[in-house]
């Protein structure tokens, strides 16, 4: 009872990285709280799935294995999580800020009347005094859900002390995937799915499904050349593709550049609502550096900012700042890289 839960996303019979990252975070939260870490695995033909999650420090795996649970559809998964939570009364539940997590999380929160914070960039446990509805109380060991808000000008810490579970979604790559112990062993509970999911819940049929591996290599690229609104045009953005090709890197973009149509590929977006990257070198071209963008690249090794605004916020976290127009600087970077890399 009152443990930390992670809802694991499963593609076919494989637990997704975003869920393993959350297990690592969940383990730390559970340790701080002195409770157990439990997870939910629901799909079809997933005998032995526990082997994938135990190394991350899971104490108990709730397995729901039945036809109709893969591919994911909303109602059966919502139904099994809601019914399981009635029995288990978790204090914290974490999910990926993925299509599935953002489809499922709100339904759990509505059913349990609990708070849900989307796209958190940090999660921590804290105790504090707070006044809610005019009543001041001391709240011990609460989950602080931290996320940038409102155009990135502020970072908000959200808490929900009077409701359980405390729920949060986190994007892939934000938390670090860390093996706790390769020999870690927990308990496996195989649930009778019919007890949790009435037949009438299988209402949506998946007629066709295409999943492709990521079209770009941004997540693991050692060098990322990223462009922002300051690139000014699609044509200028093409220079970044050229530079990235020379450097054997990948091209990323800020949300503003994608919204402006400078780059068509939405999965190149870096930031709170896109990818989180940790390359060896991050070259930010014409990116002012709103906190949502910074959240997705601040752990990069060396940050180079090319910007004609010496006061661009990103310059504050850059190792090198080149004051100049991208149209002038990017071609020079290409030229001198070619000239010197012999």
């Amino acid at each position: 009872m009152n443990n930390v839960f992670v809802y694991c996303e499963i593609e076919g019979t494989t637990v997704k990285d975003v869920s393993l990252e959350l297990l690592s975070k969940g383990r730390k939260l559970a340790d701080t709280l002195g409770v157990q870490l439990e997870c939910i695995c629901a799909a079809s033909g997933i005998d032995g799935i526990e082997k994938q999650v135990f190394p991350y420090g899971v104490d108990k795996v709730h397995v729901f294995d039945a036809e109709g649970l893969f591919p994911y559809t909303t109602n059966p998964h919502a139904s099994l999580v809601i019914n399981l939570f009635k029995e288990e009364q978790p204090q914290i539940c974490l999910m990926g800020a993925t299509v599935i997590g953002r489809d499922l999380g709100p339904r759990i929160s509505a059913a349990t009347h609990s708070g849900l914070t989307a796209d958190c960039t940090e999660l921590e446990i804290d105790s504090f005094e707070m006044s809610i509805g005019g009543v001041k109380k001391f709240y011990e060991n609460q989950l602080c859900q931290i996320r940038p808000a409102f155009g990135g000008n502020i970072v908000a810490t959200i808490v929900n002390p009077e409701h359980r579970p405390q729920m949060a979604t986190v994007r892939e790559g934000v938390m670090k995937k860390e093996i706790k112990d390769v020999n870690y062993k927990g308990e496996v509970v195989k649930h009778d799915v019919a007890k949790y999911v009435p037949e009438a819940e299988y209402v949506v049929k998946v007629l066709e499904r295409h999943v492709e591996a990521a079209k770009n290599n941004l997540k693991s690229a050692p060098i990322v050349v990223a462009g922002g609104y300051g690139m000014g045009s699609k044509e200028n953005f093409d220079m970044l593709f050229e530079l990235a090709k020379e450097l054997h890197g990948e091209v990323g973009a800020s949300r503003a550049a994608i919204d402006a149509g400078f780059v068509a590929d939405h999965d190149r977006q870096i930031g709170q609502t896109g990818l989180t990257v940790r390359p060896k070198v991050y070259i930010a071209c014409g990116i002012s550096g709103q906190i949502q963008h910074i959240a997705g690249m601040q752990d990069s090794g060396i940050i180079i900012s090319v910007n004609n605004d010496p006061d661009a916020p990103i310059n504050a976290i850059a190792d090198y700042v080149i004051n100049g127009n991208v149209e002038e600087v990017v071609p020079k970077l290409i030229k001198y890289y070619k000239a010197n890399n012999k």
């Binding site: 849900l116 502020i154 908000a156 916020p313 001198y336």
Partner: protein, 293 residues
Amino acid sequence: MSLKIVVLAKQVPDTRNVGPDAMTEQGTINRAALPAVFNPEDLNALEQALRLKDQFPGSTISVVTMGLPKSAEVVRESLYRGADEGFVVTDRTLGGADTLATSYTLAQAIKKVGNYDIILCGRQAIDGDTAQVGPQIAQKLGLTQVTYAEEILSLDEKARKVVIRRLIDGGVETVEAPLPLVVTVNGSAAPCRPRNAKRVMKYKNATAVAERAPEAAEKYAALIAEKPYLNIAQWGAADIEADPAQIGKAGSPTNVKAVKNIVFKAKESRTLTASDEDVEGLIKELLEGKIIG
């Protein structure tokens, strides 16, 4: 067969164009500096509704919005583009609502609209980016949902089933779902058609009560007596039979504990110019350090 379609729309501050004056010196949001716009993905949802109406003549589109009195602007905009009627849910007691209290309020309003076949809304609003309200409404109304929808491909009126293409992580899928249901529409769906000039003429004087200056009450009463469609229905918390414990701040489980303005910790950085010497020097340094290469 005709359908009763409900579209949820939100008026949002345009966070896509946040300038340096977006925050006051006290660290609060300077709403005056941010223009209010029709939430972009709600427009994608409206277009899907209009396409259903094209396909099933006699269908009606009811737009529901919750917000300040001036959010009636999104209802007018929807009327200009082809919606049939609109409802503005506005009440002081609704202030401070998080997604859960908002979804409760909207679910109550949708129940009052009644007899719906399909409820469409944007995947998320740009002022919060949470994508929670659509699924929470579906849960509260006991309906299923299709989120991240890109296109309603077909609707079978006899079988009461709809086929929808939607985005999933790393791909797309096509699903078949029963009516009634909630569909949240993604920004990659077809853009909304523009305003229709005739409809703009017809509805440009449509208002909700809260928008009308008290001294002009008589003028509006006469206008609406003649043309009832110029009255945008306005509902308060009592009109939708909302439980006071579930709306506004009181109905919101989430609390903001702290809000911090962003101050980046400055690193020791080197500032270079765009000159050939500086750029070549940097490249050489990075190559020598085997940082690139």
